[in-house]
Symmetry: D2
Subunit: 350 residues, 4 copies
């Protein structure tokens, strides 16, 4: 009986438009139509006016179009602060004759376009929850406990979008464009929590989004970008219908320096080569880490998301001994306040 | 026979002018005249226009003046990026009747004012070397191998200082004010290397400063600030003429994620409470960390020194489980390129 | 019959702690006890973590304390973007035997400390309105139409203040520290509008603050700072009980490039030497200036207030041919949306 | 006898990839093959890591490729600080049967790729001078006094390019990537000065570039970008071989607030609709404007080029009453120190 098999490639990028490394994979035999998703770290500010995400997305669309492929999930997260290194992680899958064992499974889905007046509100939560369930089915994961990472690319509000909503007589959840990124990430993460059964949907109101930090998903990771209006969802987990050498597990960091949780998750995985580390980071909303004040939330020169990526990038760089980590900022409702999920994928030695 | 005994206090700061924690130490019995140095992390940008250093320095001068004390070395390093926490580390010393054992020793010295046209050039190296030797003598350290950290506060060039030099017909080493900080730190660090016998003074030319990265001191730490024209030098090491529970050792990180060297140094110290961690960080001048590109040197929004402090702050925060670390940016000639010295002070359990 | 006479001095500052120019005025005969207010432009970011305001304030307090003077209004506005020049404007007044003519009048007042949970809400409006009325009385201005500029220094929320409010079971108007500056400025400006009879106090609700841009005062100017908890108010206008060569008028810029209104106000004043230009600037909340998009509100690298100060600084620098202008950012409810008040003080030729 | 006729269109841009306005011009009849150049203001930081320039360039290349057109000069200048508005200025030309009158003439040329070790040095000056002469011939301008604006897009050094040069045993003019932009702009501007006969080529040495501010061209405008290795040159001037309603003149601002020179140039032009304003801006290297200190060169949070664009954008926005101005930063050797050229194009009423 055949099975599905995942492939994971980590490819360095010389710039937001440098897709040559992925083109080289295609030249070496990877079939473009097998690619499910590309998760990228680009070198912009990761905030509202980060055009490196759109530039990279546009470069990849051109590449895939050349190969006649459409619909690949392209999730760009801006911000390679500190020594973090711009790179692409390519997730592909194919049917194989190998018998199914328990292995890394990958699924994807998209939502319809989100009306801007729903952004950061309950309808966004519901819309995302539906699509996450679809992505889990697409991955062939039966048990919610086997879901280890749900990556969501979600929209944000721009000055123009806000004006359009208000011109129509409706309101927006916030008129602050940078803040809209946080609300969109937060609502998306709560959508994951609802889909995974971590939170009852009836428990969530508009007012909870961005404020009730104790509501969170243990494995949601959301990035907001100006370049889309819908949501792109990629689910990573373990499934007994898949085969191949890749294994995934995840940790939930309780705060920005919680290396113990990360090391414990890493230790649960078999020996092998690190294939990818995917993490979320945020400034602790309490303004403190283990009782000591941090200054990330009061810095008007550098966004707190940039501080957090740089710092947690350092924490994880120290643990894993590498810098091409996918550390994404803004972890609202993604792990406990000030902490966040860290997924680790290992390629088992065979 | 009496001995000298060191005291080390780590005090949180609510802002650059919050000296209340140190005032509380005085109220609790610490004698102001016993304080040799205060090393502070303030929450400015750590670059040219960081006035938090001057503000903190001025606040401490006012405090010490109230107690009739002058001449304390006040070394403020700007920049608490990431989750780093603004704080003061107070170094004091006193004579005690306890017999000398091998313990942490503290010494201090100042240079004369540096003419701005000498900044970043060989005369600065020589001037600093002299004062470092004086500070080592002041600490009562006999063996250069027992010196573990030499902290130097050095001047920088401002637009006005450059104009004054050029009006006098002389030249400056650089007309770029931000760059002048790096040259001043570099020349100071080479001064430490000369004093410790790590580098022969005849080996150093003007052109080497800031360029020949392979010339470095294993335990120099320099911070540039607009608020002084001379150099303040504090030496930390082990001496058999001192007593008390404090012990110091240091690591030299080979790159930004070299936790192994740090853990090894930590392991060499006896069990006890962490009293202070003092480190230097810089963007690897090669543009890479272990073969992967970083973007710190090409970022025109955030200075590379800020990126490096945030990231290495994370690396060390993960290792030590605390965020009130003294991580100072700009490690020119302070440890190998892209790496830097890390001093660890432990208060032995007794 | 004696009269009051105003003095206005514009003094360059080499740094936030450079009060030497004002000390020189004292040495030259200006009586420190005659100083009512100092309005300063300091070179910080003008946002939450701008410590140059506190540093300058502290430096002036030390200077005045040396002269045994307390209670001078010290209003520091951060941000000298573009070619704007750091400087202090000293406002003094004294009784004189000269007969009263119509001339510049200066008044001052302070509010009690504002509870942080009232910041950005109606009680702040009311508290400020009371103090503005007191300052107008202090200036001896009889007709509200003769008030040309009301400068207010108001508090902001910090992460710690927010935590304290929330710990007490109350809420804050916003948990975003940067945004709290705008709300505080807005509520203060509405307080001016109420005091001047421009807006009926019953018309204003909590929800209007920061949102109903059509509510504004034609001559309010508010700056928020971390260094105070109350409000400092300085009123400038014309009074027939005053004498001397200084005359004031003001314009209301309708948008960021409205030089016509400024030139018209300037033309209404008699010939003479420019003594001071005091203005407010903000990014047009519509996201456009005369139909063309601006990018100030979506820039996550540079705060919109900094952009606006730089740009309007250029507009006014072109009109007045000088760069030591008091251009203050964040003009919520201070003039029409995207515009702002500009007060011009001229020293009549005699 | 037929003549050449210029067309100038100013088109708003919703983002770096929004070429829809230009596509609409094509749909309305403008022939893509008649387009000589597009000068764009994009909303990045205008410094080293500004990817909006490359993104816009790539978007235009795709658009022109669709129409089978290659070789259009696409000159993107990053940075719409203050209220400056992102937009494209399209320069087209066509042969017409109308008799030649004196009118706006447009010419273009490219250099070969510049070896990175020549950047900021004399060979770059010579290479650019040759191509400027070619562009002037291409424009059919006979008298050098009729050249009013020479726009050059030039390369910069990146960390990788520097490494490559040094690996080859050669040196670079600077290892500071941001500084390389200034040197490249400066050498390009001196190339214009040489071509126009403003400076004798023998007068210029490597050491003069970026330092001898008194050497400058009155109408050079250079922008550096990471996305090219050669130079793109566009010349604008008056020629008696051209026809049509467009007229150009230029001013040389002596400092950042010199509106008199700008108004005088504007007054020399006939009545008509403003078609385009093209200007250069820079922080005065003296650190002062008319004797008052500015803080642009010592600001480590915001690049001086960004400050200067915002401020001079305001100065010119006030004069011209519009914000979609092409204000480009970094005016080394482009006009006198602290000042810069301003070209004004008017469409004569007919």
């Amino acid at each position: 009986m055949p099975s599905m098999r995942a492939h994971v490639f980590r490819v360095p990028a010389e710039g937001p438009d440098d897709v040559s490394g992925v083109a080289a994979l295609f030249a070496a035999g990877l079939k473009p139509q097998n690619v499910v998703a590309i998760l990228g770290k680009t070198e912009g500010n990761g905030c509202v006016n980060d055009f490196t995400r759109g530039y990279a997305t546009s470069s990849f669309k051109t590449l895939f179009r050349k190969h006649g492929v459409e619909g690949v999930s392209i999730v760009m997260s801006g911000g390679t602060e500190g020594a973090l290194s711009p790179h692409w992680t390519v997730f592909a899958r194919e049917e194989t004759d190998a018998p199914a064992t328990r292995a890394l499974a990958i699924g994807a889905a998209r939502t319809p376009a989100l009306p801007s007046h729903d952004l950061g509100r309950r309808p966004q939560v519901l819309m995302v929850a539906d699509a996450v369930r679809a992505a889990i089915r697409d991955a062939g994961i039966g048990d919610m406990a086997d879901v280890h990472f749900v990556q969501i690319k979600c929209p944000l509000l721009t000055t123009q979008r806000i004006a359009k909503v208000e011109a129509s007589g409706k309101t927006v959840a916030t008129r602050d464009t940078l803040k809209s990124m946080g609300l969109s990430r937060g609502a998306s993460a709560l959508g994951v929590a609802v889909a995974l059964g971590e939170i009852d949907v009836d428990e969530i109101t508009d007012g909870d989004i961005g404020t009730r930090h104790e509501l969170y998903s243990r494995c949601a990771s959301a990035s907001a970008g100006v370049e889309l209006l819908d949501h792109e969802i990629v689910v990573l987990g373990m499934s007994s219908r898949w085969s191949g050498p890749f294994q995934i597990d995840h940790a939930v960091m309780r705060d920005a320096i919680d290396v113990q949780s990360v090391k414990a998750a890493y230790a649960r995985l078999p020996e092998g080569k690190l294939a990818a580390v995917l993490a979320k980071a945020e400034p602790d909303p309490s303004g403190q880490v283990r009782g000591n004040r941090h200054t990330m939330l009061g810095d008007s020169d550098i966004s707190g998301t940039r501080h957090a990526r740089a710092f947690v990038g350092g924490v994880l760089g120290g643990v894993f001994g590498m810098t091409d980590l996918y550390v994404s900022g803004g972890a609202e409702h993604q792990g406990p306040p000030g902490g966040g999920p860290v997924a680790i994928i290992v390629e088992k030695e065979t």
